[in-house]
């Protein structure tokens, strides 16, 4: 069983789920448990990921964090307050999975409206709106109506409104959904720049690679339950036995000598299993010493992907 990382963060607590449950009940009396006995603590300054398959309960958790839904059982605190009370007092930078803005509004005016609601002083509204428009590259779309924006541009507008104010908590639900590769990369840079010791960023995503790159810890949830919390940093014990993909430009026969169980994938690519990072490095040194030219070494699955599959199972 791999080591989980659900220990309390060292920094001050910002988000605290305590045995939270959420059950949806229909008028006909049917009920569905979306979240069950969910406990989690997220500290100040963390970038925290939430991963899980469709219907795992990610959106319900986020709706509860924003006070849009109330937990059926348990206790949820944001900044020491009930979630809705926190939002009404301080606000949260939020990008929802589905960007829903009145289609008749103009993009820049929508941002002015949100800035007004966010309480940005009137004198600063225009400057702040211009700033997020520049940051998200929306200049040429600023006068367009929402209904005329493409999915990617709408997603960027959604992110722009979340960044209007320097919020201490940011919640980004599937933030790169609909973004092209250029803007996906740009988004990662923006999130990197947003990291601050007093800011907590929560990212819910299907994209494990993205969470691996951005988040410090990731909660893996399934069937409304927390399966495990994974630290994305390197953990020598946890990450030791794994499969790597090695590509050699020359010396394929030598690779098979050094890694006897290697499986060839063609074009100099091999899949190898090592029991430790030490073994990997020693074997690679041996391989290079024998004259082979190694062009790439990557884990076949990221730490997070491996943990995710262990927690949730292989996709059906």
């Amino acid at each position: 069983m791999p080591a989980a990382c659900n220990r309390r963060p060292p920094s001050p607590l910002v988000i605290k789920f305590q045995n939270v449950g959420k059950t949806y009940r229909s008028l006909l009396g049917n009920s569905v448990k979306a979240v069950e006995e969910f406990s989690l603590e997220v500290g100040e300054g963390e970038i925290f990921g939430i991963a899980g398959p469709n219907g795992a309960g990610k959106s319900t958790l986020i709706a509860m964090l924003l006070g849009y839904l109330r937990p059926t059982t348990g206790k949820l605190e944001v900044g020491g307050l009930p979630a809705r009370a926190y939002v009404e007092r301080h606000g949260i930078g939020y990008l929802s999975e589905l960007v829903a803005i009145n289609p008749k509004w103009r993009a820049d005016r929508a941002l002015v409206r949100f800035a007004t609601l966010a309480g940005i002083p009137e004198a600063r509204v225009s400057g702040q709106v211009d700033e997020v428009i520049a940051l998200l590259g929306l200049h040429e779309h600023r006068e367009k109506k929402i209904k005329a924006l493409s999915k990617g541009n709408l997603q960027r507008l959604g992110l722009a409104q979340a960044l209007l104010r320097q919020e201490r908590i940011l919640i980004l639900d599937e933030p790169t959904h609909g973004l092209d590769p250029v803007w996906t990369q740009r988004f990662r840079e923006i999130v990197g720049d947003l990291r601050r010791p007093d800011r907590t960023i929560l990212i819910a995503s299907h994209n494990l690679d993205e969470l691996q790159r951005l988040a410090d810890r990731v909660a893996i949830i399934d069937h409304g339950r927390l399966q495990r919390v994974v630290s994305t940093g390197f953990d020598q014990q946890r990450d030791s036995i794994t499969r790597y993909r090695i590509v050699v430009a020359s010396g394929e026969a030598r690779l098979e000598e050094v890694f006897p169980g290697a499986e060839a994938g063609g074009k100099g690519e091999y899949s190898v299993i090592v029991r430790s990072i030490h073994e990997l490095n020693t074997s690679l040194a041996d391989l290079i010493g024998r004259g082979a030219l190694v062009s790439s070494v990557v884990p076949e699955r990221s730490v997070l992907e491996q943990q995710f599959r262990e927690a949730v199972g292989e996709p059906k």
Binding site: Y68, R70, A100, R113, T116, L117, G119, I171
Partner: protein
């Protein structure tokens, strides 16, 4: 703090009302007025006495104001829920209760502006009548009908249909059981007092006065439901 930013936002709310509802109300009012005025013009042409004009205004306002209130209140809360617009609005430091309470009064101002515009046109085309009395009547109907509409929109996603059903149902049930002495007759007294609107309309528009009991019953009924609507907003989940 929240009140300050909400007060500023009221200008956007008013703008939305004008673009999404106000223009429709004015167009419907002009067409309705024209269709009603035409036969009167032909019957009483060329002169219309003040009594005839007041009767005509009462006739027009009796139906138009109720329809305008229905249009003004349609989806006041439920649209944001259905379409998901609440997600970005209420992630800001804003209380939904205050936001929608303000919106209710912004829509009243918008409705009064629309009715004032229509009344001015009618005043010029048909002849003089007391516009102030019409404004009073509009305010009363807005509070009576709108208060219930506000509650329905807070509680249900299908507010327009529900409100229309409540309104028609109240009329039908009162027609069936309203005049007896049994428990059914007493029970229908608790239904929305739609029948009182007709009697108040004639009196209020013509003289500027109406039976205090009727006005209190209408206004109180709507105000009570408005407050219940605010409580529903406070207690019910936005995403529910």
């Amino acid at each position: 703090m929240s009140r300050g930013r909400l007060a500023k936002y009221s200008l956007w709310q008013f703008r939305d009302f004008v673009m999404e509802k106000g223009i429709s109300i004015v167009i419907i009012g002009l067409l309705w007025g024209y269709l009603q005025l035409l036969p009167f013009r032909m019957s009483f042409s060329p002169e219309m006495t003040p009594e005839v004009i007041t009767r005509l205004v009462t006739l027009l306002a009796g139906s138009l104001v109720s329809i305008a209130v229905l249009i003004a209140l349609n989806g006041i809360i439920s649209t944001d829920r259905k379409m998901g617009y609440y997600r970005f609005m209420f992630s800001k430091p804003v209380s939904p209760v205050r936001y929608y309470a303000q919106l209710f009064f912004v829509h009243l101002v918008g409705l009064l502006s629309g009715i004032l515009l229509l009344a001015t046109v009618f005043f010029v085309v048909a002849g003089p009548f007391n516009i102030w009395n019409l404004m009073l009547y509009t305010t009363l109907v807005y509070i009576a009908l709108g208060g219930i509409g506000f509650f329905v929109s807070a509680a249900s996603r299908h507010d327009w249909v529900t409100l229309a059903a409540v309104w028609v149902g109240a009329r039908v049930l009162r027609g069936l059981y309203g005049n007896g002495d049994d428990w059914k007759s007493k029970a229908v007294e608790l239904l929305p007092p739609v029948h009182k609107i007709d009697t108040v309309a004639g009196s209020l528009i013509a003289t500027g006065t109406a039976p205090v009991q009727d006005v209190m019953w209408l206004g109180g009924y709507g105000a009570l439901f408005f407050v219940v609507g605010l409580i529903v907003l406070q207690r019910r989940s936005l995403a529910g």
